[in-house]
Subunit: 236 residues, 2 copies
């Protein structure tokens, strides 16, 4: 049970981005100093946002099947590089015999002393409210995008990345960041794992003076820390 | 058995690059249209090149353990994004109850009608000779780098990528490509999965007029084709 398990596929590009960041964050000079990781990139999980909004099937059984796969493969901790799915975190953490990290708890550590933090995510993630709860429990003040004017552009950013069009996603996200900046926001959590991929193409001027928190990166950081603390980078 | 299995960790960055390419090559507009993939990124496999050169432990038992993990997880085909490990392809293909794709066979399809093809890889991969055999069986003519002058730079490129220094790797690879170009080479197989990562940073002028074959990309292409032909992108 010395492997990091990745419950992925939600979406696949975000899963690959998570694995890349996990490997980049691991201090290693050769293969054998890296952490063992098993990735279940199983994309046929029902849409998480639609389920929270009461529009689609429950994704929990498919997520539990991935947990079974990862635990059977010897994983001792599980990371889920999908923010929206954390609506069910208490359910799958109860189901899993091994710990499941929480992406929002990983992000809160990186927000810092900002006074106004905007959460960018799917409508389901924002309606679930776990980010708002965790940030306010940590003494921060939360802002969510206006559902009529800004959220449609966030939705379009996420859809563009899931469809493989990163350049279009970057243009949309840049528009969102400029709007938030003019609203006095000083930290933005990219609380959907597709958004950091769009952020790569954004003009840095669009978010000058704001802290951008990459939820994929922060979850990868927490995962690497968990594995290194237990010496999983050393061969058994 | 409708999942693609990735026997990874050799090295980890190449494994993440392979997963990224596999996902990018899959025609999909939403998560649920992607292919199911399980990645065993288990980096504690003994060094493949050292084993071929008689300097280190046999990596085959560790690779067979990864095959067990992938088959138990429901994989119906296995891809190994590590060229050197294909020295043992006939052994692990015999061990595996499901087909194991061959990276060199995937690359040969992309070499095209070039007359002089250089193979860049680890010393173990070149000593093993499977690339030279497969390319000559397909009517091509093979060139391998001079072991005294060019191969040390190839070795340094691979080590730089494994250590996370892509910029240094790119500088070394650029030097190798310029040398090959002046030797009349018109196709280069990047026959170590670390090399395409270094190639990203190379000046395109260094390989103008030469076909660069990315072994990671060609194996990903073969994997996607295998999964799509069998409808694995459709939910069960």
């Amino acid at each position: 049970m010395n492997k990091i398990g990745v419950l992925g596929g939600m979406g696949p590009a975000a899963t690959a981005d998570f694995l890349t960041k996990l490997i980049q964050l691991t201090p290693a000079t050769c293969d054998q100093e890296h952490l063992p990781v098993v990735v279940a990139n199983l994309p046929h999980v029902p849409d998480r946002s639609r389920a929270i909004l009461g529009l689609g099937a429950n994704p929990l059984p498919a997520m539990c099947a991935s947990i079974d796969l990862l635990v059977n493969a010897g994983c001792g901790v599980i990371a889920v590089p999908c923010n929206t799915s954390h609506h069910w975190h208490s359910d799958f953490a109860k189901y899993s015999p091994v710990p499941v990290l929480h992406i929002a708890e990983a992000c809160v550590l990186a927000v810092g002393p900002a006074q106004t933090t905007a959460i960018l995510g799917t409508r389901g993630c924002l309606q679930s409210g776990f980010y708002q709860r965790i940030i306010s429990e940590n003494g921060g003040f939360c802002q969510v995008p206006d559902t009529q004017t800004v959220q449609p552009v966030v939705d379009a950013t996420i859809a563009a990345v899931k469809g493989g069009d990163l350049a279009r996603g970057a243009r949309y996200l840049e528009h969102v960041l400029r709007t938030l900046s003019s609203n006095g926001v000083n930290a933005v959590v990219l609380a959907c794992t597709e958004l950091p991929l769009a952020a790569l193409g954004c003009d840095p001027v669009a978010h000058a003076g704001m802290t951008l928190v990459d939820s994929t990166l922060e979850l990868a950081r927490a995962s690497v820390r968990y594995g290194l603390d237990r010496g999983w980078n050393k061969a058994a």
